[in-house]
Amino acid sequence: MSDTDTAEGTEVADLEARLSIYRMMQEGRLFEERARDLFLQGLVKGTSHLGIGQEAIAAGFAAALEPDDLVFCTYRGHVHTLLRGAPMAALMAELLGRATGICGGKGGSMHLTDVSHGAMGSYAIVGAHMPIAAGAAWAAKARGTDQVAVCFFGDGTTNIGTFHEALNLAAVWALPVVFVCENNLYMEYTAIGDVTAVEHPAADRASAYGLEPILIDGNDADVVHTTAVRTVARARSGDGPSLVEAVTYRHGGHSRADPGKYRPDEEVAEWLRRDPIPSYRERLLAAGADEGTLDAIDRDALAAVDRATEEAREAPFPDPDTLETELWADGGSAWRN
């Protein structure tokens, strides 16, 4: 992408941090590949939306955040939630509809949430979380907490009303929030270019909110991380929101039901070549990382996924009585006396 920022000229993180980014991408990838296998075995009942191929964005940002920062993501949010530190077994259990699931089975794949780790929810209505993230940032500012909110969303989301309302409010109130558009070129089955009035659905609209256009290679974890550090710092220092467009690609279809056949074969092949993980591995090796270290990360990630899978598969199904719990703060769901 000629019009994309690169890491050139900007400091990349040190090797340790980059190894951690690598580990995060690998964990995300293996977790989702396992999730896909479990779907194929019929163990995940609902739908699910994988971010395989897009991990550099989640990892690059996750590595730039503090523990009490707040992340808001979408139905395509497994990796974002995991990389905030949510327990893997509880995430897997949620996909499998078990009692030990992170949401007790009430959420499912599209609603993974772990508030204790600042994973503030996966939202399944396109765009809804953008004003919500702005609101969390407003509270951070009002309370003087130094937190930053980060809100991930897709290219297709740039055409819905909440995108516009949230960006304007965040800009006017100078809120500490970073909006990150994961532009994977498609909505469900329709190419974003077919239904959008500008070429870069987020970056070309930044100026409508008085913001700098930021368009980056979302498959380059270093670039993403550098951008994350910069925009998060801007937010934390009180200078207000940013809107980042990170171009990427999902390797598979939109959701479990979708083989993704509407995409030209060459396009898919080209993006598989640009898989963010192997290329990052190469780069780290070139930067002096030890092959053994990387292999160990891979092994550990796989072992973690294996353990989580086993734990989740052995977990009990929810007690049907829990159906009627946790509508209200009193733990119940009574609407009458």
Partner: protein, 324 residues
């Protein structure tokens, strides 16, 4: 005669009407090239071309607003809302604009619009993709609402909706898409506002619609084993509502049960109950029982979702209780 799935019936119904009337257009998200995320509209793009079958951005307010504007200027648009939960993001267009325009202008504006939508639970999609929202529409003056429960009804009610001069919401229970039924060849056109007794019986009236119809029938079968002869009324059309059919049935049976997938409070069952508790009070021989989903969002896990949505067991039990 052919056996069609409910999903195929959607495409057949739309095609029938687009063929007949060149002013019928169809828009929605991923409906054209992809044939719809539920594969309900496959083949329409090829058959009618990109001018009449169009993919939209993810802009539900613009989709429904554009349908309204187009209807004001000579088209008869059919718009799809992929999941009925998304009525919430364009509720102003539906409830404040489309529903009110004719009345506010004293009849100057006619809005022959159809909005189709995949509704309800049972697919383990979680709270934001599983709602039953037919009551939302029913509560807004100026909207008509139908809920077909078979492939044949799907075609016939859709055709009636397209031909109707007023806005009609066609609610498609998503768990029915794979269900099958016989459909005669040739044009099929049904009528709005007509309920149908899918089982006749003299002991109790069960009002039901959509995905709950098969369950109510199964419950009636079980009750029959115990000598209770239930009449199962597929309400089919919430607005206009076939009050006559309901009242006549209760007049004969003396007992009423409503079965709905909605959360408990203020569902259409409450409306029917209140009508009967007023107009047929003296015919009633026992309490009116409403079987509903508890007043909760739908959970994702299958165990929990199954516990939430009315089951055959709960319909049987509710019906027994209505007998006093």
């Amino acid at each position: 005669m052919a056996e069609l799935t409910y999903r195929e019936a959607v495409a057949r119904g739309i095609a029938q009407e687009m063929e007949r009337d060149p002013s019928v257009f169809f828009i929605g998200e991923d409906v054209a090239a992809a044939g719809g995320v539920f594969k309900t509209t496959e083949g329409l793009l090829d058959r009618f071309g990109p001018d009449r079958v169009r993919d939209t951005p993810i802009s539900e307010q613009a989709i429904i607003g554009a349908a309204m504007g187009a209807a004001m200027n000579g088209l008869r648009p059919i718009a799809e809302l992929m999941f009925s939960d998304f009525f919430a993001v364009c509720w102003d267009m539906v409830a404040n604009q489309i529903a009110k325009a004719r009345y506010m202008t004293n009849g100057q504006v006619a809005l022959p619009i159809v909005i189709r939508t995949a509704n309800g639970g049972g697919a383990r999609f979680g709270a934001q993709h599983s709602q039953s929202v037919e009551t939302w529409m029913m509560a807004i003056p100026g909207l008509k609402v139908v809920v077909p429960s078979t492939p044949l009804d799907m075609i016939g009610l859709l055709a009636a909706a397209v031909r109707d001069p007023d806005p009609v919401v066609v609610v498609e229970p998503k768990v029915l898409y794979a269900s099958k039924g016989d459909v005669p060849d040739g044009e099929i056109v049904d009528e709005l506002g007509v309920a149908r007794a899918v089982r006749e019986g003299g002991d109790v009236t069960i009002c039901v619609l959509g995905a709950m119809v098969p369950k109510a029938l199964e419950a009636a079968g079980r009750l029959a084993d115990d000598g209770i002869d239930a009449e199962v009324l597929d309400v089919r059309s919430l607005v206009p509502l076939d009050v006559r059919a309901i009242a006549d049935s209760v007049e004969r049976t003396g007992h009423l049960v409503t079965v709905e997938e909605n959360p408990r409070l203020c569902g259409w069952g409450a409306e029917i109950a209140s009508i009967v508790a007023d107009e047929k009070f003296y015919a009633l021989d026992g309490p009116i029982v409403r079987v509903t989903t508890p007043h909760l969002p739908l959970p994702s896990a299958d165990v929990l979702e199954d516990a939430a949505i009315p089951s055959v067991d709960r319909i049987v039990e509710g019906t027994r209780r209505s007998l006093g």
